[in-house]
């Protein structure tokens, strides 16, 4: 089977409130796949259904491979030490903790602290280490960098890239566009429990059909132009400046950020 996760027509309601309205997507083996969406879009519910932590009303979910889970909101007993948690979870899963993974995540640097003394970043790293026990083929990461500072975020991103390089399949839920753009092979955008897009970031950009903005800085000042065909437009513009004898100092092109395309698809207004 070439897919690690296959979700078909997944539906979930809490009382009268329908959270997932027939969600379908699949995650290929070895890829990093993101579930994107605003607050309340249904990302965490979808992920928890796939993880087997939440019951769903109807639909089908197939998961292939050993699974490791890092939850969005998770906690450990206040007085437990990191290596005690690692050993407890390893004992129950009858696996041995991989010391190289623990070292890569820097767990030993705060091994003597109790859980209540750990920073948010240290807790996230510990949760990731626990999710990686037993060398899972498939990792579920729910908002892995939420609440982290820049340093923690960069560190965790490099860990996720390392795991991808090792061939692990990663399904992550996030609302951080930059994170998704830099880490993920494909993404799915959820809006009010429905899928509004599934594909690569490049496909999303193409689908949104935004025009290019070309900003040109010359010795006479700055000018901006809009174009659908960037190659033709650039050639015409540069030829025009050359004929007028105006020196071009800098050129920038922009086709809108992933965030802008996300906003367009989800019908949200930028603040």
């Amino acid at each position: 089977m070439s897919y690690a996760v296959k979700v078909e027509n997944l539906k979930k309601s809490y009382g009268d409130h329908t959270v997932l309205k027939g969600l379908s997507f699949h995650v290929k083996k070895g890829e990093v796949f993101a579930l994107l969406g605003g607050n309340g879009a249904g990302k965490t519910t979808a992920l928890e259904c796939v993880e087997g932590l939440r019951r769903y009303d109807s639909g089908a979910i197939a998961v292939n491979g050993r699974v490791g889970i890092q939850l969005q909101s998770s906690s450990l007993p206040a007085h437990i030490r990191p290596l005690e948690a690692v050993r407890l979870f390893a004992e129950w899963n009858r696996v041995k903790a991989d010391t190289a993974t623990l070292a890569a995540l820097g767990i030993n640097s705060f091994a003597k602290k109790q859980y209540l003394e750990l920073s948010t970043g240290q807790k996230r790293r510990l949760h990731l280490a626990l999710a990686l026990l037993g060398d899972p083929e498939l990792l579920f990461l729910d908002e892995p960098t939420a609440g982290l500072d820049v340093e923690g975020r960069v560190s965790l991103h490099s860990q996720i890239r390392r795991l991808k390089a090792e061939g692990k399949t990663i399904l992550l839920a996030s609302h951080d566009m930059a994170e998704v753009e830099s880490l993920c092979d494909r993404l799915a955008i959820l809006k009010d429990g429905s899928l509004v897009f599934c594909g690569t970031a490049a496909e999303l950009t193409a689908k949104s059909g935004s025009r290019y903005t070309i900003s040109i800085k010359t010795e006479q000042g700055d000018e901006s132009f809009f174009a659908d065909n960037i190659a033709d437009a650039m050639l015409d513009l540069l030829e025009g400046y050359r004929q007028k004898g105006i020196a071009v100092l800098d050129i920038k092109t922009d086709r809108g950020t992933l965030e802008q395309h996300f906003m367009e698809l989800t019908g949200r207004e930028q603040q």
Partner: protein, 238 residues
């Protein structure tokens, strides 16, 4: 089994690091014993015959009804439960390891009372110590199972504090450890019988295997275990 034993040993260490459990299982019961032991024996020298049992009932009830439930709420009412489930740790580990750990902590506390009371307050030692500790083990099991049911029923720490006190105070007042039950109005004496403390006190003072004392404790234990099982199943479905 190895994983379960490690989980229980770990819980024992976590409890030692937790100040709240040390307070409810050791500091307060032993302070109460030190203070009330002096008062009881000076007011009524006859109380020396049952001082060990009465102070033990007080300490066990405090540890089981006030000390244990908050730890369970912290575990099952928070993301700890979810984290354990997500990482393949069974739901029952928390309740079993916490109960076993509390059992040992309370047994140590009771041991301190039993060993020191004859020297400090000239209290009488139970005549049959193995039988006494057997009775104590039964009382501990019943009290802790009631504490477990309480910790699983109530999901907020604020509510739990109130409900624990509402159960602990009548449990002690109506158990016969502070004054004879015969002095109480009949309805209060009857009400006291719904708590393990009254039966545990009788079991430990009468020093014999009397089914009329053991049967109510067995019923209370069965009811608490059944309730805990149902509550755990409900938590599993959430």
């Amino acid at each position: 089994m190895k994983a379960f034993l490690y989980g229980t040993a770990l819980q024992w260490r976590l409890d030692l690091r937790s100040k709240s459990l040390l307070i409810t299982c050791y500091v307060v019961p032993l302070l109460f014993y030190a203070l009330m032991g002096g008062i009881f024996t000076s007011i009524n020298p006859e109380s020396k015959a049952t001082l060990i049992q009465s102070m033990t009932v007080m300490g066990v009830s405090m540890g089981a009804l006030i000390g244990l439930p908050p730890s369970l709420v912290e575990h099952y009412g928070s993301d700890v439960k979810k984290m354990y489930s997500a990482n393949g740790v069974p739901l029952y580990l928390g309740i079993l390891s916490m109960s076993l750990s509390a059992f040992l902590h309370l047994l140590i506390m009771c041991g301190v009372i039993t060993l020191t009371a004859p020297f400090v307050f000239d209290a009488s030692l139970p005549r049959n110590l193995p039988l006494y500790f057997g009775s104590l083990a039964v009382f501990l099991a019943v009290s802790l199972s009631a504490g477990c049911a309480l910790g699983l029923c109530v999901k907020s720490q604020a509510k739990l504090t109130m409900i624990s006190q509402l159960l602990f105070l009548p449990s002690i007042m109506l158990s016969g450890i502070l004054f004879p039950i015969s002095l109480l109005p009949r309805f209060l004496a009857s009400a006291g019988k719904i708590f393990p403390a009254a039966w545990g006190y009788r079991l430990m003072t009468e020093e014999g295997v009397y089914w009329q004392n053991l049967l109510p404790l067995a019923v209370l234990l069965s009811a608490a275990v059944l309730l805990c099982t149902l509550l755990l199943k409900r938590l599993q479905k959430e």
